[in-house]
């Protein structure tokens, strides 16, 4: 079901948290709300669920205006960060709870619970108590409970934050699989860009209560609208150089670096600019030479990560396949791939 949020405004104790936000989540899509803590992403999520009320604005589930409806009448499934399973009920009773509240008949409940348990791969755990489950299993139960009454939208609040690294990988693909199999519209809140990129159809990046950019993960990575977005996506993160415009080039005078601005010709000389270079676009191959020294090297197995300190103190990050390993302190003359670099104005807007 398509969810739309129109002109949404929310303040807590006089502090504006969300200001005039508009967002549409398409039917069957999984959307990530991505941003640093305090950006309003959880507020948005809990507003959709009905736990928070809008101060102003409208929330539509399909054609239905649900802005004034309490949580109970919204038909929303929520997976909380700590799963919020009911500790005194076993797994079956946990999953069945939304149905028993609705007073479905016993046979239906049994069938529904078993079907959803099969989908989430917890059929053999139905007799257990939440306290006897691992984190990943609890997560599956929470998912099953949220999905069992076929909600209009599934909301996930940092669902992977409490899992260890290996389980996180497993649950990442599991949540996506279950979402695709049920075809449910889903919203995921996270501050982890890897989660957002790997699980979702589209990402909405938020900053200080505003949506900065909303796009598919691939488009957002290759075409960030601001330096904030560019800095948020990608691991290892992008590195920035400060410089000025000079004869249709981005220029850092002290190290005699000149990167042609290409399509962005006609910027007045002397304008302050920022150049964003992703680690994969800086290395032994490319077109603009930069000299520096390896200031930091980290082995990651298949790849190595380097920080290259330039003569003026700025740092460029690089990721290189393992093989030829550069040592700490080694002087290098590497190249920036100028066509893949992003040019930002000084206030962070992409040119």
């Amino acid at each position: 079901m398509q969810i739309s949020i129109n002109n949404f405004t929310k303040t807590f104790d006089g502090t504006p948290v969300i200001d005039d936000m508009n967002l549409t989540i398409r039917d069957g899509e999984m959307l990530a709300l991505l941003g640093p803590s305090g950006c309003g992403k959880s507020t948005t999520l809990f507003t959709i669920s009905g736990i928070h009320r809008m101060d102003r604005g409208q929330l539509m589930f399909g054609d239905r205006d649900v802005s004034g409806l309490p949580s109970q009448k919204r038909n929303v499934g929520v997976v909380f960060q700590n799963y919020a399973l009911y500790p005194h009920m076993n797994v079956f009773e946990n999953i069945a709870f939304p149905l028993t509240v609705r007073k479905d008949n016993k046979a239906d409940i049994d069938r529904e619970v078993r079907a959803i348990a099969a989908l989430t791969h917890i059929s053999e755990l139905l007799e257990r108590r939440p306290g006897q489950l691992s984190g990943g299993q609890q997560q599956r139960v929470a998912l099953a409970r949220a999905l069992v009454r076929k909600p209009d939208v599934l909301l996930l609040d940092e669902p992977l934050a409490n899992l260890d690294a290996k389980l996180r990988l497993e649950m990442r693909s599991e949540i996506r699989r279950i979402q695709l199999e049920t075809g449910i519209t889903a919203v995921l809140v996270t501050h982890d860009q890897v989660e957002a990129m790997s699980m979702c159809d589209r990402i909405a990046i938020m900053k200080k209560g505003e949506i900065v950019q909303i796009d598919t993960p691939a488009d957002m990575y290759s075409n960030p609208r601001t330096s904030f977005v560019a800095g948020f996506l990608g691991n290892p993160p992008i590195s920035f150089l400060s410089g000025i415009a000079m004869e249709n080039s981005f220029s850092v005078a002290p190290i005699k670096l000149r990167v042609p601005l290409g399509v962005h010709e006609g910027i007045a000389d002397g304008t302050q600019l920022k150049l964003g270079v992703r680690p994969e676009h800086f290395g032994p191959e490319g077109d603009i030479a930069v000299e520096g020294k390896i200031a930091f090297a980290e082995t990651q197995g298949r790849e190595n990560l380097y920080d290259v300190a330039l003569a003026d103190g700025s740092v460029l990050r690089s990721i290189q396949p393992a093989g030829r390993n550069w040592a700490l302190g080694e002087p290098v003359r590497w190249f920036i791939d100028s066509k893949s670099a992003f040019v930002f104005s000084n206030d962070g807007q992409r040119l």
């Binding site: 669920s49 009905g50 736990i51 309490p70 949580s71 109970q72 038909n75 929303v76 499934g77 929520v78 909380f80 960060q81 700590n82 919020a84 399973l85 009911y86 500790p87 005194h88 709870f97 939304p98 509240v101 609705r102 939440p130 306290g131 409970r145 949220a146 009454r149």
Partner: protein, 274 residues
Amino acid sequence: MTRNFAAWPIILLLTVLSLPLFVMYLFLLVDTFSNTAPGSLLPNEFTLEHWRFLIDPTITGDVWKPTLTTFLFASSMMVIVVSVSATAGYALSRLALPFRRFVLSGIMVMHAFPSVTLIIGVFLVLQFAGLYNSLTGVILVKASLMLPFGIWIMKGFYDAVPWEIEMAGVQDGASRFTVWRRIILPQVKPGLLSLALFAFIDGWSEYMLPRILAPSSDFEVLSMYLNTVSDPNSSTYNFNIFKSVGLFYTLPVLALFVLFQNRLMNIFGGGTKG
């Protein structure tokens, strides 16, 4: 397992210190089943005659009626305290009530207030309500005097229940009341149980209030009954019978303590481990 110190000196010290108490209780028990010659310390015959008051009402009057009254008194008080504390504690812990802080600090003050000082006011209220000299009146007063403690304890238990569980319940389509009854209440069950026990024991041992607020009524609780038995001016005065009645009076409390001591300790730990 290694020990940093020997345990026996402590055990010895504790034994010596608690010996008088222990001996006292032992003699209480022994004396109810035996006769001792005058001047002698040790009993010389086994007898059940001191327990005859259980079946023979001519000795000290019928014991079962006061027992039943006491039971009724303690359980009604328990029901009131538990049901009011369970709901009020939830409201104070979770709902956005007007004057919440004021009510909370009020409860705190009431909890610390010596209840005897209220007795004149209570007397006036009961008189006005026409409940003076009635069992109902005493039950209501006793229960309300215990409520600050009960509400405060239950609020603590509710506070320990995570918010998310409650939100999950609401999100699953349940009303606030259903969430409270089916999800939150089971989480605070240890608290409810120990509060119920405390209330019952407190009611069981109450002497003052029935005495003051219902001095001339026709009901009698066990503590008052014990008082009549121990009256040295009465014709039925018998020290061993007094001891037997005392023991009989204590037994239910002892039994409850033995059965539920772990639960009772819970109230001070305040923990709710689901």
